[in-house]
């Protein structure tokens, strides 16, 4: 006859419980980091970049040489980076978070790699006198940079990135003479539209 004495309760599987705790801590850290990156996208700064890009497109179209044309767009790129960084810092401060925390650093790293590729290709095109490939390459690589840096951002950012990449790919197969108009449509138009959407939906 089996004993009626109660069996001792089985001990919980320690590795499994430890996994839960580690998994929870990882989820908390990732959510905090993701949320910081998520809201750091500056809507109004993106609109401002769109406005300056429209001005740059009009100015660049009047340049007599390829070198002068590239110089205008490089100046616009420097201005855009400054506006974007200032917007991110201002937004992070308003949210009470660190301006250059882990997510911001990761965004900058992911963003900088395709931009470096763009800079190298620009130099190569400039040396070869092949300025016609620049607009498509810039739009395509900017889309890739935004997609890499903003993969975990508000959904508007990956959508905007995909639009840039598609426009860039299309530009490579369109007449070279349309370059400034297509750059205006991308860096001007897309930044204006998506910047406004981000600012309205996700605050500044």
């Amino acid at each position: 006859m089996p004993s009626s004495a109660p069996h001792p309760a089985p001990e919980p599987p320690i590795p499994a419980l430890r996994t839960v705790a580690i998994d929870d801590l990882r989820y908390i850290r990732e959510t905090m980091e993701r949320s910081a990156a998520f809201t750091a996208v500056p809507g109004w700064a993106t609109v401002a970049v769109g406005v300056t890009a429209l001005g740059a497109a009009a100015w660049a179209a009047r340049q007599p040489s390829l070198a002068a044309w590239v110089a205008v767009w490089l100046a616009e790129a420097a201005l855009a980076v400054t506006l974007g960084a200032a917007g991110m810092v201002a937004k992070a401060r308003r949210a009470g978070g660190p301006a250059f925390g882990g997510p911001a650093r990761r965004f900058a790293l992911s963003f900088s790699i395709p931009l470096f590729a763009g800079a190298a290709l620009t130099l190569a095109y400039l040396r070869a006198g092949q300025g016609g490939w620049m607009p498509g390459t810039w739009l395509l690589l900017y889309g890739a940079a935004m997609l890499a840096g903003g993969a975990f951002s508000v959904r508007t950012v990956p959508v905007m990135s995909a639009c840039f990449a598609l426009l860039g790919a299309l530009t490579l197969f369109l007449p070279r003479a349309w370059g400034d108009a297509l750059l205006a449509a991308g860096f001007g138009g897309l930044h204006l539209v998506f910047g406004w959407i981000i600012a309205r939906r996700h605050g500044g």
Partner: protein, 127 residues
């Protein structure tokens, strides 16, 4: 077929809070120890996201946590009822807007939960 690690996590995630509390070396009564209100994944996500941001809108949280309107509403309401988050409803033009922020008691609850998870890991290592 999943990997052994994935299976282990899946089993562990279904484990009741009582066992987690017992292993942590504290009281075996989960209500007194492990905060089950925060233990649920969506609510843990809401509290964690709000700990890193002064405020987040309903839309931000929904996109961030990749959940539905109904699910987020339900869990946010539970946290609001417990006093862990504060909800503010305004109008942005004609559109209603809901913003959330973490209350002081919500922040303390998250800190307690973090302490508890760390204690659980230490206790598991000691065994």
């Amino acid at each position: 077929m999943g990997s052994p690690a994935r299976k282990e996590r899946a089993v562990a995630s279904r484990r009741p809070a009582r066992e987690l509390a017992a292993v942590s070396g504290r009281s075996a009564e989960p209500a007194a120890d492990l905060d089950r209100l925060i233990h649920e994944r969506v609510r843990l996500g809401i509290v964690s996201a709000l700990a890193a941001n002064e405020t987040l809108s309903f839309r931000d949280l929904k996109d961030l946590l990749r959940t539905t309107d109904g699910n987020l509403s339900l869990h946010a309401r539970k946290l609001e009822d417990a006093g862990y988050v504060v909800c503010r409803k305004t109008f942005d033009g004609r559109m209603p807007r809901t913003d959330y922020r973490l209350s002081a008691s919500g922040r303390r609850a998250l800190e307690r939960y973090l302490d508890h998870m760390e204690a659980l890991i230490r206790a598991a290592r000691a065994r």
